[in-house]
């Protein structure tokens, strides 16, 4: 009880709106489309659109981690940025805790910002090189007066300890830290605002293997401690498998498959998911996987193929795939897939 009281003082007061009305899902993304105009010429005439995210829907439950996998250029980073409204939406909606993020005015958005945070891939460019670490972590906390000034130092120290940083690191500058420590600083910066939801945009891709494990463990520990909800974006399937509760697979701006971890890894339904999973090299020389080698490379998102976007590389390609965009359908218990191979909850052909 004392702890509760103290927490209330140390951290900021919660607004009533934060009390979740739909306890089940903290974040809901509905028919999200983010297009980037391709303009050319002197008068910026729009020639076309890069459909970075094209009609994606999913929801994340409080306290869980959703993994988002896909190859480069599939739009997973854009989803992350669109959820934070760092990128404007083209259509659809992002609802966080009952609030439509893209309908907020600027003031309301700024007030909401601390509740959703982001961690980037590159720990080198994501820290301002001319600010000491303590300032990087505490800057927004101070500006938003999330904690009382007299408790500020202790608060920041506490956050830093939580992230495996020492108090004396406060006065140091980012360039003095290794990649792993920088990523800890990024996590501390996000954590200091007492967020409920963190978008982790490839947080371990730039790190060495032994450091990756440290960061993954840290993220999991923090989730357990603070009840955080993660959207974990990565191209590294093993990491996603380790950390996620649910996994979405993206291909060229579309979510092609979405299910909980166990069912998607044990029983991938979409041909792309299958190929992707089989492509993971297994660190065991004796295991010879039955690898599905995809031909060709990802088409340009500015000029995606008609119909199912994957049909150009799909070994199960049918006539219908070239003509019709497959819709998300649920197979079994909450296992969603967008593929013409499945109809009425079972595989055809």
């Amino acid at each position: 009880m004392i702890d509760d009281k103290r927490m209330k003082e140390d951290r900021f007061e919660r607004r009533p709106s934060e009390v979740s009305l739909t306890e089940a899902s903290l974040l809901e993304v509905k028919n999200l489309k983010t297009y980037f105009p391709i303009s050319s010429g002197l008068f910026s005439k729009v020639k076309g659109y890069v459909k970075a995210v094209d009609d994606v829907s999913f929801s994340i439950q409080r306290g869980t981690t959703m993994g988002l996998v896909g190859e480069s250029g599939c739009g997973k980073t854009t989803i992350g940025k669109t959820i934070l409204r760092l990128t404007e939406i083209t259509s659809g909606s992002v609802t966080f805790d009952g609030i439509d993020i893209h309908a907020l005015d600027r003031r309301a958005l700024r007030a909401l910002r601390p509740r959703i945070q982001i961690i980037f891939q590159d720990p080198y460019s994501s820290l301002s090189p001319r600010m000491p670490v303590g300032e990087i972590i505490g800057e927004a906390v101070r500006e938003k007066r999330l904690v009382a000034p007299e408790k500020f130092d202790d608060y920041i120290t506490g956050i830093m300890k939580d992230c495996g940083l020492q108090e004396y690191h406060k006065d140091r500058y980012p360039h003095e830290f290794s990649g792993g420590q920088r990523q800890r600083i990024c996590i501390a910066r996000a954590l200091a605002l007492n967020p409920e939801f963190i978008v982790c945009d490839e947080p371990v891709s730039a790190l060495d293997v032994s450091i990756q494990a440290q960061i993954i463990n840290l993220l999991k520990a923090l989730q357990a401690k603070y009840g955080l909800t993660y959207l974990f974006i990565s191209h590294d399937l093993s990491v996603v498998e380790h950390i996620s509760d649910t996994v979405g697979v993206m291909y060229l701006g579309n979510l092609v498959e979405y299910a909980d971890k166990a069912s998607i890894f044990d029983n991938p339904l979409h041909p792309y998911t299958m190929a992707l999973f089989s492509a993971i090299p297994v660190p065991d020389p004796d295991v010879k996987t039955n690898r599905i080698i995809l031909e060709g490379s990802i088409p340009s998102p500015a000029n995606p193929p008609e119909g199912c976007k994957f049909h150009t590389r799909c070994s199960y390609c049918m006539e219908i795939c070239k003509l019709e965009v497959p819709q998300m359908q649920t197979i079994g218990a909450g296992h969603q897939v967008a593929c013409h191979l499945y109809k009425d909850g079972r595989r055809i052909g």
């Binding site: 009390v19 980037f120 520990a221």
Partner: protein, 598 residues
């Protein structure tokens, strides 16, 4: 209701005791011998930059040069005993023309009292003498040339005193009004008419007879002037020489063995020398110099100088001896050295006179370390003040251009879209303006308007600032465009920081290094530009000093080779300052460059 839910929710969430909980990761940064913070030095980025900068020898040299320039210009000006435009003068001896001497080869005349024998008459005399005539007419008056000696003529004119009618030997003399003719005169006149003579002398007076048909006019002659090549001058100032004295003196000097003569009861004595005779007035007590008689024309250059007898004597002696100079005491008794030079027949006497002189192009000395310029101002002091102006202009212009550049470049970079488009087109336009011709025109307009030099400096700063901001704006825009895409800027946005804080705490500190480097490099070029303009006479104007216009004071090859101390130091200062700023700029760039990071 809400409260209850909230408390439930908080209870549900894990405890967040930050102080008692063990951190999830214990193993970071143990003080092991292998952890990098134990073996590697860590500094803040600013300190790192300073450290790297201080290790750069060239940059330190540049810094020392700049520091020296500042001390030289701003403190030097205070220490220097002279003012910026203090003109140095000295009381110096100057070899001035004092007098001239020529052998007189021309006739000079002395006019008799009450006669109007003027220069025109003199010219007619010369004409008549050259054609061998004995008479000439000037203004209805007939003059008769009476030769008294070699190149010594008395000019005589006659006045009618009677009409004479001669008829078959009968001579009738009718005296004109107011004239009384003596019998002897009448007899002489009759005799002359009968004999047909035109001149006769009666009682020592020369008379003329002029025939006019049967009528004759008897004229009595009187001296009009004497024409001589000798010059008679008063020996003492204030004396005027009368006609009778001149005539007598001339005659006496010419005559052999005559050593004295008397005029109007005054006895004069002649002391004859080869080229110069001195005539003394003899009085009871002795004799005083009265006049000088010579064939030489001695004239002072200045009209208010009276040449003393002794001087003249000495001068003529020296001329005769062909000496190059002589020493003569002046009235105060001080010995003055005179030099004598000859051009054709004219000897010029020069004396070293004391005058107030401007010390122009004085060679370096202990009083003027770098000499003086063509205006007689101390070059060293002017360099100090010039440095002040050059550096001040440099800094203010760079501040101005940085301010404009950062604001416009920042706006363009941060807001992008049409703001960026507009500002960048303005930059393009500015880059198209040919600034040197424009400055030349503006310079001449300011010349015409006779703008105060002090005010002109402000205009100059303004113009230079206006013309050089586009470079900085472009640089700042580029920096901001690239920084805006950096993930730390996106992270700052994600944390919900205000726009102002994002700009001033995140963006600006990262643009500043580039800006400092750019501005430092810019300082050098602004100083160079200012010097160029001042050199061309468009920038800082005399009497204000600037390094550029100090150099422009020396223009010809002669001046350049002889008065090196005027332009070489100024040139060196410009060179060193620009070099210094460039060294420092390079050093800063290297220090800021993340590639240097180890």
């Amino acid at each position: 209701m809400m409260d209850r839910e909230e408390s439930i929710q908080i209870k549900d969430r894990p405890h967040k005791n930050l102080h008692e909980d063990k951190p999830p990761e214990e193993h970071v940064s143990r003080s092991s011998a292998l952890s990098d913070e134990q073996r590697l030095k860590v500094l803040s980025p600013g300190m790192l930059v300073i450290k790297r900068f201080l290790r750069n020898r060239l940059a330190i040299i540049g810094l020392i040069i700049i520091a020296f320039m500042f001390v030289f210009s701003f403190i030097g000006g205070l220490v220097s005993p002279y003012d910026e435009s203090q003109v140095f003068k000295y009381i110096g001896t100057m070899s001035k023309e004092y007098a001239s001497v020529t052998y007189n080869e021309e006739y000079r005349y002395v006019m008799a009292d009450g006669r109007d024998y003027n220069a025109a008459a003199h010219a007619k005399f010369i004409l008549a003498r050259n054609t061998g005539k004995t008479t000439f007419t000037h203004q209805d008056t007939e003059y008769v040339i009476v030769e008294e000696g070699d190149a010594f003529y008395r000019i005589v004119s006659s006045q009618p005193i009677a009409d004479i009618t001669s008829f078959r030997g009968i001579v009738a003399i009718n005296a004109l009004d107011g004239e009384a003719l003596t019998e002897s005169l009448r007899a002489s006149a009759t005799e002359a008419i009968l004999s047909g003579a035109t001149q006769f002398t009666s009682e020592g007076v020369l008379y003329t007879v002029t025939q006019n048909g049967r009528e004759y006019v008897l004229g009595r002659t009187g001296d009009a002037a004497i024409e001589s090549k000798n010059i008679l001058e008063p020996a003492v100032a204030g004396t005027t020489i009368g006609y009778s004295f001149a005539y007598e003196a001339e005659k006496a000097v010419r005559a052999e063995n005559v050593s004295s003569f008397t005029v109007d009861g005054q006895t004069f004595e002649i002391e004859e020398e080869e080229n110069l005779s001195v005539i003394y007035a003899v009085t009871d007590g002795g004799k005083t110099p009265y006049a000088i008689f010579s064939r030489m024309a001695i004239q002072p250059i200045s009209q208010d100088v009276f040449l003393s007898l002794a001087f003249k004597k000495q001068l003529i002696e020296s001329v005769a001896a062909g000496e190059a100079g002589f020493v003569q005491a002046d009235q105060a008794g001080a010995e003055i050295e005179y030099s004598l030079s000859r051009l054709n027949n004219v000897y010029t006497v020069k004396s070293d006179t004391l005058t107030h002189l401007i010390s122009i192009h004085e060679q370096p000395s202990w009083t003027h370390w770098l000499g003086t310029d063509k205006h007689g101002m101390d070059v060293m002091t002017r360099l100090m003040y010039g440095g002040r102006i050059s550096l001040t202009i440099g800094f203010i212009v760079v501040l101005l251009e940085s301010a404009i550049g950062v604001i416009l470049g920042g706006l363009a970079g941060y807001f992008g879209k049409w703001v960026d488009m507009l500002i960048m087109r303005i930059v393009d336009v500015f880059n198209c303006i040919p600034f040197l011709p424009l400055l030349i025109i503006l310079g001449s307009i300011m010349d015409t308007l006779e703008i105060d030099p002090q005010l002109r400096i402000y205009y100059l700063m303004f113009i230079l600032g206006i013309m050089s901001w586009p470079g900085i704006a472009r640089m700042v825009r580029g920096q901001i465009l690239s920084l805006r895409e950096q993930e730390f800027m996106i992270a700052a946005e994600a944390t919900g920081l205000s726009v102002g804080r994002r700009i001033f705490k995140h963006l600006v500190p990262n643009v500043v290094p580039q800006l400092i480097v750019f501005a430092t490099m810019g300082l050098g070029s602004v100083i160079l530009y200012e010097s160029t303009l001042s050199f061309l006479g468009l920038g800082v104007k005399f009497p204000l000093a600037s390094w550029g216009n100090i150099i422009s004071g020396v223009t010809t090859a002669y001046e350049m080779t002889n008065f090196w101390f005027v332009w070489i130091p100024a040139g060196m200062l410009i060179l060193l300052t620009v070099l210094g700023f460039n060294f420092v700029g390079d050093g800063l760039r290297d220090a800021f460059d993340p590639k240097m990071k180890r």
